[in-house]
């Protein structure tokens, strides 16, 4: 499925998450699989606690990134982002805003301090989640991916061991 297909005019934020019938993963109840209920977009298909997160413009942008992940993976990403934001008492758009600042000329720039603070918060969240090794790196970099696709240049560790 192409990005164009994901961003069609009738697609809601939730629709972006739920890809239409890719056939990847096969039916199943797990979050990680693209089964019925995730495959067709619709406002009622996301768990309630994720609906607001999915509707945030910053999350829309993240989900519209290029790629062909199965729907279940996107849902898992949403779950993780929701937990991360909840741990900080913020929401996705505010999280992005905290990494930005206004310049004297009125432009918007990346806040080095905000980015550093957020990067540290990601590391702390990953540790609190109990992830270690490669899992910790992947988890942290998923969250960094949300920031990256909203224009916040940053890097996390690579899994090389």
């Amino acid at each position: 499925m192409t990005d164009t297909a994901r961003t069609g005019p009738d697609r809601t934020a939730i629709g972006v998450v739920g890809e239409a019938g890719t056939g990847i993963g096969g039916p199943g109840p797990g979050i990680g699989e693209a089964g019925p209920g995730i495959g067709e977009p619709g406002p009622g298909e996301l768990p309630e606690h994720l609906a607001a997160v999915a509707a945030a413009p910053s999350v829309q942008r993240w989900m519209h990134r290029s790629g062909d992940d199965v729907a279940g993976a996107r849902l898992a990403d949403l779950e993780m982002l929701q937990r991360f934001c909840a741990s900080l008492g913020t929401d996705p758009d505010e999280l992005i805003a905290q990494c930005l600042r206004s310049t004297k000329s009125g432009d918007t720039a990346i806040s080095a301090a905000g980015r550093r603070k957020t990067d540290q918060a990601i590391s702390a969240f990953v540790a609190a989640e109990g992830a270690s090794g490669r899992d910790a790196i992947v988890l942290g970099n998923k969250l960094r991916g949300f920031l990256i696709h909203n224009g916040i240049f940053m890097q996390g560790s690579a899994a090389i061991d």
Binding site: D119, S157, A158, I160
Partner: protein, 261 residues
């Protein structure tokens, strides 16, 4: 590898085989190439410190990281910290006279020991050495030329490399014993490419006619199609990116290393 193919194959490589170290002999070739680079005053403009990632303890490696330079440091097995030695003018008087003595600089072009001692040094070079903007400008240009040689030597030996901004200068300075007179220029990461050496295809460039001129800026330097075809055969001009599978290549590499997609 032939020269034209080296130039044409160079890419900024960002995915390295993290597990494969760079042979010391290949680093030596890079450094000799840099040391052979063109340089005014025959001055040593640059200094460089090579560090193998795996020789650093975890604490030191962590100290080098920041939110914008972390994955690169993990993936590349070898780091080269490049500096301008801001004292490069020192000794220029003697070096230039040595070039006069070996007829590299000769009377045919107006050079003499007397010119160096009586005019060039007191009226030009010594004043320049006290003008930090001039020192920095010349140092940056000449160090860049040397780095270019090192880059091409790396490519010629099958290595990948990419230049990165210094983002932890004070940390590096302390860790590696960098003198105050060294001004940071680039961090060069070196390793064997995990991506294809073509890295998705040759990068877009504007035609040379937009950059080069003959005789006057009204007269663009137009390419000769026959020369262009020869350069394609010889590898300086290669298939432009992105290759059809480039996005997938990046995705697979990202997943292998657990990086953001």
């Amino acid at each position: 590898m032939e020269f034209n193919r080296v130039v044409g194959t160079r890419r900024s490589i960002r995915f390295f085989k993290s597990w494969r170290p760079v042979e010391r002999e290949k680093l030596q070739v890079m450094f000799e190439a840099a040391n052979r680079a063109s340089r005014s005053m025959n001055a040593d403009y640059f200094r460089a410190i090579v560090v193998n990632r795996d020789d650093l303890d975890a604490e030191t490696r962590d100290a080098l990281r920041n939110p914008t330079t972390t994955a690169d440091l993990d993936l590349a097995p070898t780091y080269i910290f490049w500096y301008i030695d801001m004292n490069y003018v020192e000794g220029a008087q003697d070096r230039l006279k040595a070039l006069v003595d070996q007829h590299a600089l000769s009377a045919a072009h107006g050079w003499s020991r007397a010119y160096v001692d009586d005019f060039l040094w007191p009226q030009v070079l010594e004043p320049i050495s006290k003008d930090m903007s001039a020192v920095l400008f010349m140092g940056a240009v000449e160090t860049g030329i040397a780095i270019c040689n090192a880059i091409n030597a790396a490519v010629d030996q099958g290595l990948g490399t990419c230049m990165h901004a210094f983002t932890a200068n004070e940390t590096v300075k302390s860790l590696l014993g960098v003198p105050d007179s060294w001004f940071p220029v680039w961090l060069q990461l070196v390793g064997y490419p995990a991506e294809e050496p073509e890295a998705g295809g040759q990068r877009p460039r504007n035609p040379i006619s937009t950059l080069f001129f003959e005789g006057h800026t009204d007269h663009p330097f137009e390419e000769d199609p026959e020369v262009t075809e020869r350069l394609k055969r010889e590898g300086m001009l290669q298939t432009p990116g992105p290759f059809p599978y480039r996005a997938q290549e990046v995705k697979m590499l990202s997943r292998m290393y657990g990086l953001p997609e």
